[in-house]
Structure formats: structure tokens, C-alpha cells
Symmetry: C2
Subunit: 137 residues, 2 copies
């Protein structure tokens, strides 16, 4: 299945995401595109895989932009309706906003994640998106 996916994922599957696995449900993969002047990573999610609710903290600037390049997924901000994502969609994630993103139930999903530079930027990881919440999508 991964092999088939690699053919359509524009920016490469990369390696299993072991660094942040504790903040994900399901398997994800990271492929660094740029880790110098700015952080740009390709993130691939297997079906049902999603990250925990999290917040991009910054005292100035910060946040993240997602460019969806493959499959179907979801993005949701705390207290808002989930937004379905498909190829060609982009998401501007503001700093200080609790949110999660990941694949849909029956599709792999890939997005490029662009870290918006800022001051005192950190990621605050919160609770998982429960199966109960996820199954409602």
C-alpha cells in the first residue's frame, strides 16, 4: 500500500515519524524538504491517522501553513466544525489556535507543512482526537 502511495505523493514519503509518534494515532511519515532557512516538511498519514490536538505557540509570528498534495483528510480548530481537505487545498493555521489534522477514514493523506517563522515558537501537544470524535466525521 505504501508503495502505491509513493507513486502519487508528490513530495516523498520519507521516514516513519518516530519523533512525534507519541502525539499521533496511527502511522505517519516525515520527509524534510527544507530544514535550514525555514522548516518545510512533507507529512503523510495512513488512513485514520491523525495528530493530537495541538497549539503552535509564539510571542510573535508563528503558526503553520498546510498545502494538501494527495488524498483526503481533515482539519479542525477547537470549537469549530471540521473542514474536509483534498488535493489543492491550503490551510493557514494561526498561532495560538488549538487544532488537529490528519487523514480521512479510507484514504491516505499528504500535506506539505510550512512553519511560519516567529519568536519563541514552541508546539504544545494536547489530548488525542478520540475514536468517538473521529468516527463522527
Amino acid at each position: 500500500m505504501i508503495k502505491d502511495f509513493e507513486k502519487v505523493g508528490l513530495f516523498g514519503l520519507g521516514q516513519p515519524n518516530e519523533t512525534f509518534a507519541q502525539y499521533f494515532i496511527g502511522k505517519s511519515y516525515l520527509n524534510p524538504i527544507c530544514m535550514e532557512s525555514i522548516g518545510i516538511l512533507n507529512v503523510t498519514f495512513e488512513p485514520k491517522c491523525r495528530n493530537n490536538w495541538h497549539i503552535h505557540r509564539a510571542t510573535k509570528g508563528g503558526g503553520q501553513v498546510l498545502l494538501c498534495t494527495c488524498g483526503e483528510g481533515w482539519y479542525q480548530e477547537w470549537g469549530k466544525e471540521p473542514r474536509k481537505l483534498t488535493v489543492g487545498d491550503s490551510v493557514i493555521i494561526p498561532p495560538e489556535v488549538k487544532h488537529w489534522h490528519g487523514a480521512s477514514k479510507d484514504s491516505w493523506f499528504a500535506h506539505v507543512a510550512i512553519e511560519v517563522p516567529g519568536e519563541n515558537t514552541t508546539n504544545e501537544w494536547c489530548e488525542a482526537v478520540t475514536d468517538e470524535e473521529y468516527e463522527k466525521l
Copy 2:
């Protein structure tokens, strides 16, 4: 032809690039993805279209990252061999380096351009890539 292209260009054709037309040979199109916290634009070039040699100036940070999403094109830094670009390629353009990019002779080309934030960032536009240079590719 544009209509066909729109179907495959992931991040939209947008509008004719009138703002920078004077620095391009051929027709190009700009579709802004994010113009707030960071500058992210989708740029589409018709076949043979390329921008002039140019330099992303900055006293700190700066430069640009290209993510190629459609067709075939070229990237060249001053004094170096041209690099052929295809879907899934990325280019990290350092600040202060003279370069150009654009489509190949017989293909449309699209890339997302991510502006790396910096201090005192400006674009310095230089001479065009002549037909003679371009035809050698």
C-alpha cells in the same frame, strides 16, 4: 490550453501576472495562497516562459523555496549548470544568489513559491534570459 492545465495544476492558475510582467518573458500567472504571516504564491508559466535573472536580497534570512507541482521547468544559478525541474522537485534558493526559473520549451510549469522571511528583503531584477541562452537548454 489553460483550461486543460487548470485541471492538473494543484494550487490554481489565479490571475495573469501583470505586476511582474516586465520581468518575465512569456505569460505567467499568480495565485496567492497566503499573503499574511508569510508569502506563499502559486506561479504558473506557459511553455518557454521564464523570469529574468534576479536576486533575493536580505541582510538576514530571506531567499525562496520552490515546490514544483506540475509540468517541467528549469532553475539556474549564475555560473552554474541549469537544473531540470519536474513534479515533486524542490529548490532552496539562497539569498544573494543570482538565478532564474521558468517553464521548459514544450511544457507548462507550476511551482509554489515560499518567501523565506528575513530583514530588509527586496528583489533585484536583472537582465532577461536571452533566447540564445534559453534555446541551448
